[in-house]
Symmetry: C2
Subunit: 372 residues, 2 copies
């Protein structure tokens, strides 16, 4: 080979991406989706105060954002009753996951996750040469005992657990997390991805000021705060680990307008509560639409609902495809047996009306295709 060569590790990496965006699907089909219910975005959106803060900050976009994310970080510290050196703000959980994997995983190092869990952890783990060990779900829940056992048997550097879980929407109680931490080997760090945390009642989660040397938690403004496009997330953990992010993070990486928006969003807890109410109603509505079509809704602690298609004897993928054909964007779990389900994000009535109207025909089309 001639010319500049990427590293041996980089050469082994696939060019696949964790997710294909809905825009790419729209471009491929030549048609815009009419209902965007696939990316667990929060179409109820941020508060008016948040939008106002962002619009006002636009005029200051000529400045670099504060590389220390100071104002937001201190507001988060106060909000969660945490020492500020236990918080790092980054460009969404995706970027923080990448930094964390880079900090802990050298080529060949073992990590543990659930088979079919959030693929971006796997993307980063593979990207830094980690060896991923998969543990199956148990009854649509991430199997904390299995994850801890696997972490012990392989000597994992990291174990990844989303709680509430994506893609199934299920929740493990705080006692399970505490037991899991007790079962983990001393050298294993638990990444507790709480992207959907605000959707669960706070007494169903560990308090944010809970401290454990083997625990780092990740939160985001992308979900309940309705700011997925802003790219603001944060991690909470032992000060020594949080401090290590400064060795490698993209210090000037968080958009200035996004920093201002996130700060305003955090201060508008009334809006967050209003979103949680709308979200709960939308989950009921999705369950009802499922019921009308003989699809069982799984309990969800998130902003999406899994509808189990196995009772119909129809491939969920066929229903998803038929819905996509009529402009309805949803997603589904990748791995059996969770892939018997459709994963439908909550959204405003108009989008759910379209889903409700389209689903019966989509099931018919999918049934015909499955029987072929």
């Amino acid at each position: 080979m001639r010319g500049p060569q990427i590293t041996g590790l980089a050469a082994t990496l696939p060019s696949t991406v964790p997710f294909v965006g809905p825009e790419a699907q729209e471009r491929a089909s030549g048609r815009a989706f009419v209902a965007r219910l696939g990316a667990n975005e929060n179409a109820f959106g941020p508060s008016e105060a948040t939008l106002e803060a962002m619009r006002a900050a636009a005029a200051e976009v000529w400045k670099y954002g504060d590389p220390e994310n100071h104002d937001l970080k201190w507001a988060l510290a106060e909000f969660h009753h945490l020492a500020v050196d236990r918080i790092v703000v980054g460009e969404g959980i995706d970027a923080l996951l990448g930094d964390l994997v880079r900090l802990f995983v050298a080529p060949g190092d073992p990590v543990v996750t659930s088979a079919g869990a959030y693929p971006t952890f796997n993307y980063h783990a593979t990207g830094f040469g980690g060896v991923i060990n998969f543990v199956p779900y148990r009854n649509d829940h991430e199997d904390w005992e299995g994850l801890a056992e696997k972490a012990k048997s392989v000597g994992a550097k990291l174990v990844y657990l989303a709680n509430p879980d994506n893609p199934m929407g299920t929740l493990l109680p705080p006692a399970a997390i505490i037991q899991m931490l007790e079962h983990l080997p001393d050298q294993t760090l638990l990444i507790l991805d709480e992207a959907y945390g605000e959707f669960a009642s706070s007494d169903h989660l560990l308090p944010m000021d809970f401290e454990h040397p083997n625990l780092i938690r990740m939160r985001t403004f992308s979900k309940a705060y309705g700011m997925a496009g802003a790219r603001v997330g944060y991690a909470v953990g032992p000060a020594q680990i949080i401090g290590a992010f400064d060795k490698i993070r993209n210090h000037f990486g968080v958009n200035l307008v996004a920093q201002r928006g996130a700060l305003a969003a955090l201060k508008d807890q009334d809006h967050l509560q209003a979103v949680l109410h709308k979200n709960a109603a939308a989950k009921d509505r999705i369950a009802q639409i499922g019921q009308q079509n003989n699809l069982l809704a799984l309990p969800s602690a998130t902003n999406f609902v899994c509808l189990d298609c196995s009772g119909l004897g129809v491939d969920a993928a066929q229903i998803l495809s038929a819905l996509s054909d009529v402009g309805i964007f949803i997603r589904m779990p990748f791995v059996a047996p969770q892939n018997r389900c459709l994963r439908i994000s909550t959204g405003p009535d108009a989008a759910l009306d379209l889903l409700g109207a389209a689903l019966p025909d989509a099931i018919k089309v999918a049934t015909a295709r499955t029987q072929k």
Copy 2:
């Protein structure tokens, strides 16, 4: 040691950051800067159309940005007459530099840069275990012959060259870049950082559709387009190298509002021209302020001017410090002999008025401190 441990490489990394932000300095002093002329930001700002696009896009911030940055990438391809597979859009040049270093540098791999050049390249190179070889500036220009020689002698994976240069503001002609490419070893990739490219007349730069297998170029919306806080940059290079970014980049990393803003900014070339005129006038003004204070202005192809303090026999650092004490934020080169200069970013008349008013006293204070 007990508990989770970061990698051996991460443990060797310092916790120092490439730059301390002006906000951190303001917090330390308890006082806001009255003139922000230190970060090579563009205080003339983006166009009204760009701001309007961003304000309008704020309402869509609940969506993830398009991970392919499709619309912006295609607009850039058309604008620069490039195949779209030769462009990757990322969260500013800083993030793209990090990705590129990660793709090419394994621990122990040699890279080359100029002593005192943009430190964020060094931050990433060290961060991935690269061994940095420094080449001195020559007459305040980056020494392309010296860089190419060093790349050859060490077998460099990457050589970094900013053109126009930061911090000195000097420009190498296209012929020098072409000669440098001819002198580089086959396996060395030249990173041509053209963050300040738009400030140089386009016939003083290589055409953007110039192709070379050993060349990747970086551009940004942070400087001439006035959007430093948005975090949008792009790289142009061989399709195979550009494609490799997809293996590791943070696919959903570019803020949705920023994507829309950058697209609007690219379309408003009249505004860019107006900024370039204001920038040229401001550079003249800075040179004039320098002259009034017996500080020689170096020629600049950028949005900042270096004022040489060596004629006064006063440490530039002392003048910088005295200016900071009265609320004027500037920066200076890190390395001798370039550190005889103050680096002053252009800005509106009001900010330069404050600089002009403060500089004589700052020199007096600095002179007294130097003589102590």
